[in-house]
Structure formats: structure tokens, C-alpha cells
């Protein structure tokens, strides 16, 4: 079974029996090849050791329009380091010897198209990637041209919804989604707003009331234990990106700082001073 699917199944079973809905799943994003080219697997391993439930590895792109300054700069740095899709697959080739958490690749569609969609998906399956987040891939293109390829290689495609997404489209996205729905908390690019406002809570409640078939992870504006806990009370969990990139940027001891950050976010009482 796909690791993402089984993660959420187990989570649901545990939540149902214990009723602990605030203990959310944590998905952490980081850019491949950042801060240094060969840090990818170190960061990945440390995220798992710290307790991240899922990991989203960003494939750097020269023109990431949905991303704010922090992630853009990490993309630029990674590209300067020489990062590419080819090198990423090479770095991840033995990942499943040590990493058991679900791994997603996030990125923009052009580098994937240049690699070749078929070859890309085959390689994802080979190294043990479970799902893809390609924000600028249109739904109709996915359904008509790529879905069968994704299916062949056991890859889930994760769709986004935003506060501006209409109810009809949310239903449509829920229908074609598997794994989870990436719930963008506010009208913004990544990293530009922080916190969970009253407006957002109304939007999260609306989604809850829709009784979607897929679980949701909330992203954009999640940066620490408080925002993570708050988001998790409205969904299966939350996604942290920019705040973690800032940690990597400032880090002098990668493993230690990554583990401390994740522990901090998941449970503030176990905080380890950075």
C-alpha cells in the first residue's frame, strides 16, 4: 500500500479510538540541495529522526511563482549548488534503506516535463517516492494525460485548495484526490503571512462541514508549535515550509537543529534549546 495512504489510515484509527484530534501529523518541506548540494539526505533523515510524519522535498526551479522570498532564495541557492532532478534521484537512490516515512516531491512542472513524465514517474517509484505536488499542473491535463502514468507507478497526486476555491471545485478535487488535500490557509504565496486568523478558522470549519472523503493538511503560515497545534485542531495535520528553510539557512549543526525544530513543533514541552 502507498505509504501516504497507510499513514492516514492508521492516523484515523488512532484518532477514532483515542479522540485525540489535536495530535496532528506534521509534514515538513525543504528544498533539495540546500543549504549545500549534498545535504538533501541528511536533512531528510534528521526530519524523520525528529518525528516528522511526512516529508516534502522541493525540486528547485528558477521561476517558482507560488513561493515567497524565503523558498525562492533556497531554490536559487540550490540551483547555484548545481541541483537538478537527475542529481536528486541519484541522492535518493538508497533512501528507503533508512527512511520509512512517506516522501513527496514538490516542484513546478517544467523540469518534470523536460525529464520526461514517464521516466520521472518510473524513477520516483524506483527510489521510493510516494506522491507528487506539482502546483502548476492543471487538473484536466493530469486527468487526461498523466493520471494513468502516476497510477502505474503507485504515485499519488496531491491537489491544493485555497480560501478562494469554490465549493463545486473543492468537491471535484476531493473526487480525484487520494492521500490528502493540501489546504492553503490564506490567499498568499508561501511564507508571506503567519498565524491562523479568525477568517481562516471559518474557512477550515466550512471545509470540515463538507465532510470530504480525503483528509486535509493545512499549509502556509504554519511556523511553530502554536500554529501547528491550532491548524491540527482543524485538520489531520499541517505543513511547514518557509519557517523550516529559515532554520536550515541559519543552522550551524544541521542534524541537531533539524531534530530540535521538529520536536519543538510537535510538542513544545519537549523543547530542546537550539
Amino acid at each position: 500500500m502507498n505509504r501516504i495512504v497507510s499513514l492516514f489510515q492508521n492516523f484515523n484509527q488512532n484518532t477514532d479510538s483515542s479522540g485525540l484530534s489535536s495530535r496532528g501529523l506534521l509534514n515538513v518541506y525543504f528544498t533539495a540541495g540546500f543549504p549545500e548540494l549534498n545535504d538533501t539526505t541528511r536533512v531528510l533523515k534528521a526530519l524523520q529522526d525528529g518525528g516528522a510524519d511526512l516529508v516534502e522535498i522541493g525540486m528547485p526551479y528558477s521561476d517558482p511563482v507560488a513561493d515567497g522570498e524565503t523558498i525562492q532564495q533556497s531554490n536559487d541557492r540550490a540551483l547555484e549548488n548545481g541541483m537538478s532532478v537527475r542529481i536528486l534521484f541519484d541522492q535518493l537512490k538508497d533512501m528507503r534503506e533508512t527512511v520509512s516515512v512517506p516522501v513527496l516531491l514538490m516542484g513546478y512542472i517544467n523540469p518534470v516535463l523536460q525529464y520526461g513524465i514517464e521516466a520521472f514517474c518510473a524513477k520516483c517509484a524506483e527510489v521510493g517516492v510516494d506522491g507528487l505536488i506539482l502546483p502548476d499542473m492543471p487538473m484536466d491535463v493530469y486527468l487526461n494525460e498523466y493520471k494513468s502514468i502516476f497510477d502505474t507507478h503507485g504515485l499519488l497526486n496531491i491537489f491544493l485548495v485555497t480560501p478562494q476555491t469554490s465549493e463545486t471545485r473543492i468537491r471535484q478535487i476531493d473526487e480525484v484526490s487520494e492521500g490528502f488535500i493540501y489546504t492553503v490557509s490564506s490567499a498568499s504565496v508561501t511564507g508571506s503571512k503567519s498565524g491562523v486568523s479568525g477568517d481562516m478558522e471559518a474557512y477550515f470549519e466550512k471545509l470540515d462541514a463538507m465532510k470530504l472523503r480525503n483528509p486535509r493538511l493545512i499549509g502556509f503560515g504554519i511556523k511553530d508549535h502554536d500554529t501547528f497545534a491550532k491548524a491540527s485542531s482543524h485538520a489531520a495535520g499541517a505543513i511547514i515550509g518557509s519557517a523550516f528553510i529559515r532554520v536550515l539557512h541559519q543552522s550551524t549543526d544541521l542534524e541537531h537543529d533539524v531534530i530540535a525544530f521538529v520536536k519543538n513543533v510537535k510538542n513544545s514541552s519537549e523543547a530542546i534549546p537550539a
Binding site: D63, T162, Q164, S188
Partner: protein, 399 residues
């Protein structure tokens, strides 16, 4: 204007594609904005009150119709019949204003309060700031930090017109980065803002909408040419292509007449093989850029390459999806001119006809000798803009 509500075979299909190019490759955050535009744009354009206001402004404010002028000395030199479509005489100095007039009226009808735009050399930024002043809408223009330094007079014009000019400081700090920033601004302000894209690029319906607003160029060429030579169709229509809005407008009403040769001229920069070029069809391959599937200059890994041209208006790594389709289908001939050839052509036009062209338009003029047009044939060159903004560059070539 009736005619721009029609659909033709090289035009966009109902799924938003030109052949295999086009579409709307946008993140979900932009989907409602683009969808709102897609659902409404044809209806708005077809509305008689829109058409009246658009046509009145083109006539009384922009100064249309622009002349179609027979360039006698140039014709004599190239032993053919050369006509210049004088878009350089439009208010603000280039064809760009045809589109911004159309889009500001669109934004008003969609109830938008604020306009965001990107600009390279500043021509589209000035044309956008101009219509925002005219319609009293707030205007934010993103411009690459490097371009802000290079194009000071246009930055000053935008500021005087009341626009806020914001530098794009990431990436290469030029047009493609300004476009990224304008898109991000639209993501952050989805409800009250309209994004006025300056060329026939971006997600569907932008390439089609901008082409329709620019199609007035070829609409006028047809009846004006009839007055000159007794028939509506030339043998060649020549236009420069960066993103390709002036070419899209000049080609529009000739697309389905295969006896009219459509010639697009890209900027070769220092030369096709120098690594300092913006000739997209020569150096690029299919991919996705700024929301549409098109041809773009990119690395083997699919990273967008920074182009180079002496002309900031042609300094773009892609072309509009319709142009990509014209190229791939063979309907259009795609040539290129180097920086030096363009400057030489600018001096040639100036000294023979007393018209100082923009550096962009000079690329179209630069291939006249390579066209092979006979003395019985007719060539229309779209003179998309005037050269005032380029005097600094031209002066360097005067001994």
C-alpha cells in the same frame, strides 16, 4: 470590433489551446482569478457598450487609426513595395496602449479596484500607468531591479502618472522576474486586483484576449492597404516578436489567408551561438512558462534561461503560445536579427524616411533585405514603437 469576437483556425480552441500550445498551467491560488476572466472576457468584449467605449478611446485618446505609410525610399532600396504601420504614433509611443485600454475597461467591468502589471523596458508599464490615471485606478508596476536602473526615463514617467514602481529583486532582476512578482502579487490579492499582462503570454485567456485587443492593427491594415493598392492583403506581414503582442495584432486578420506570409523576427542579441541571445524559436524547446505551454529558452534540466537583447522589449525567454503554434505548424516564418543589424536598420529608416523607430521594431526592419520580396509584391512592416526611449543606445553608434 464585431470581428474580434469571431474565431478562426489558428485561433485558440475552446479548451484554451493553439495546437499543442497554450492552456492554463497555474497554481490553484490563481485559478479563481483566471477562471473569472475566462468565464467573462468574451461576453464583456462582445458587449456593445464595451465596444463603443473601447473604439472611442482608441480613436480619440490613442489617436487611431494609425497611418499606413508607403516608405518610398526604402521601397526603392529593396526593390519592392514597403508599407509601415505606424503604431509608433500611438499615445505613449507604442502599440502597447491598445491592450491596456482594453484591459482597463475589462477590469472596470469585473469590478476591480487595483491594477498590477509587469514591465521590461517600461513601455507596457507606462501604457498601464497611463490608463490607470485615466480611469482613476490604483496602479502597481513590477520591474526588474536591473531594468529600473537601465530605463530611468520610463520609471520617471510611470511615477509621474501616479503608479507605484516596485523592484523585482530576485533571480536575474529583469522582465521574467517582474512577471513572477506580478503573479505573486495577484496571488496575494485575488479579489480586488486585475493583472494586466503586457503581451500575448500567460495562462488562457490572456494570449487570446491581448491578441483581440491588438487585432485592431491588422483590421486597419486591410482597409488602409485597399486604399493604397486596391486590395486588402499584402504578400508579407513582418513584425518583431518578444512575447509577441504587436505581431499577434498585425497577423490576426491574415492568419487564415495562407497567401499572406507571416514573418516574425526574434532578437538574436549578439548572435545565435554567442550565449547572449533572445531568439526563442532558434534556441528554445517546448515547455511551460508563465502559465502556458509554449516554446522557451531553458537548460537541459528545464530551468528558464535568461535571454539577452539590446532591446529590453524583446528580452524575454519565451514567446506567446499562438506564435509557438505558428512556428511549429509552419504558418509563420521565424527569422532573427542581431543587435547590430537592428541598430543599422534603425539608422537606415531614420536617414531614408525621417522616422526614428524603437529598437524592438528595428529588428523587423532589419530582415527586409533577406525577405526576397519582388517589385510586384507588397510588404507591411509593423512599426510597433518609436525610438525616443532608445536614444541613449543610438547615440553610442554615432561617431
Amino acid at each position: 470590433m464585431e470581428s474580434i469576437a469571431e474565431k478562426k483556425s489558428y485561433q485558440v480552441n475552446d479548451r484554451g489551446y493553439y495546437g499543442t500550445f497554450g492552456g492554463a498551467f497555474i497554481p490553484e491560488m490563481l485559478y479563481p482569478n483566471v477562471e473569472e476572466l475566462r468565464e467573462n472576457y468574451l461576453q464583456v468584449i462582445a458587449d456593445p457598450s464595451f465596444q463603443k467605449e473601447f473604439n472611442d478611446l482608441l480613436r480619440h485618446y490613442v489617436g487611431r487609426p494609425t497611418p499606413l505609410y508607403r516608405a518610398n525610399r526604402l521601397s526603392e532600396k529593396y526593390k519592392t513595395n514597403i508599407f509601415l504601420k505606424r503604431e509608433d504614433l500611438c499615445h505613449t509611443g507604442a502599440h502597447k496602449v491598445n491592450n491596456t485600454i482594453g484591459q482597463i475597461l475589462m477590469a472596470q467591468r469585473l469590478g476591480k479596484k487595483r491594477i498590477v502589471a509587469e514591465t521590461g523596458a517600461g513601455q507596457h508599464g507606462v501604457a498601464t500607468a497611463t490608463v490607470c490615471a485615466l480611469m482613476n485606478l490604483e496602479c502597481i508596476v513590477y520591474m526588474g531591479a536591473l531594468d529600473i536602473e537601465r530605463q530611468a526615463p520610463n520609471v520617471a514617467r510611470m511615477k509621474m502618472l501616479g503608479a507605484e514602481v516596485r523592484p523585482a529583486t530576485c533571480g536575474s532582476r529583469t522582465l521574467k522576474d517582474a512577471t513572477n512578482e506580478a503573479m505573486r502579487h495577484w496571488i496575494n490579492n485575488p479579489v480586488d486586483t486585475h493583472y494586466i499582462i503586457g503581451s500575448v503570454v500567460g495562462p488562457h485567456p490572456y494570449p487570446d484576449m491581448v491578441a483581440r485587443f491588438q487585432s485592431v492593427i491588422s483590421e486597419e491594415i486591410r482597409w488602409q492597404l485597399k486604399e493604397h493598392i486596391g486590395k486588402e492583403t499584402p504578400d508579407y506581414v513582418v513584425a518583431c516578436v518578444g512575447g509577441g503582442s504587436n505581431a499577434a495584432g498585425a497577423f490576426y486578420h491574415f492568419l487564415d489567408e495562407e497567401n499572406v506570409k507571416l514573418v516574425a523576427v526574434e532578437a538574436a542579441g549578439m548572435g545565435l551561438t554567442t550565449g547572449h541571445s533572445a531568439a526563442t524559436t532558434a534556441l528554445g524547446k517546448p515547455g511551460v512558462l508563465h502559465g502556458s505551454r509554449t516554446i522557451l529558452m531553458q537548460t537541459e534540466d528545464g530551468q528558464v534561461v535568461e535571454p539577452f537583447s539590446i532591446s529590453a522589449g524583446l528580452d524575454y525567454p519565451g514567446i506567446g503560445p499562438q506564435h509557438a503554434w505558428l512556428f511549429e505548424s509552419g504558418r509563420g516564418a521565424f527569422l532573427s536579427a542581431t543587435d547590430d543589424e537592428a541598430v543599422q536598420a534603425a539608422f537606415e529608416l531614420t536617414r531614408n524616411e525621417g522616422i526614428i523607430p524603437a529598437l524592438e521594431s528595428s529588428h523587423a526592419l532589419a530582415i527586409l533585405g533577406r525577405l526576397g520580396a519582388s517589385e510586384h509584391e507588397t510588404v507591411v512592416v509593423n512599426l510597433s514603437g518609436r525610438g525616443d526611449k532608445d536614444m541613449g543606445t543610438y547615440m553610442k553608434y554615432i561617431d
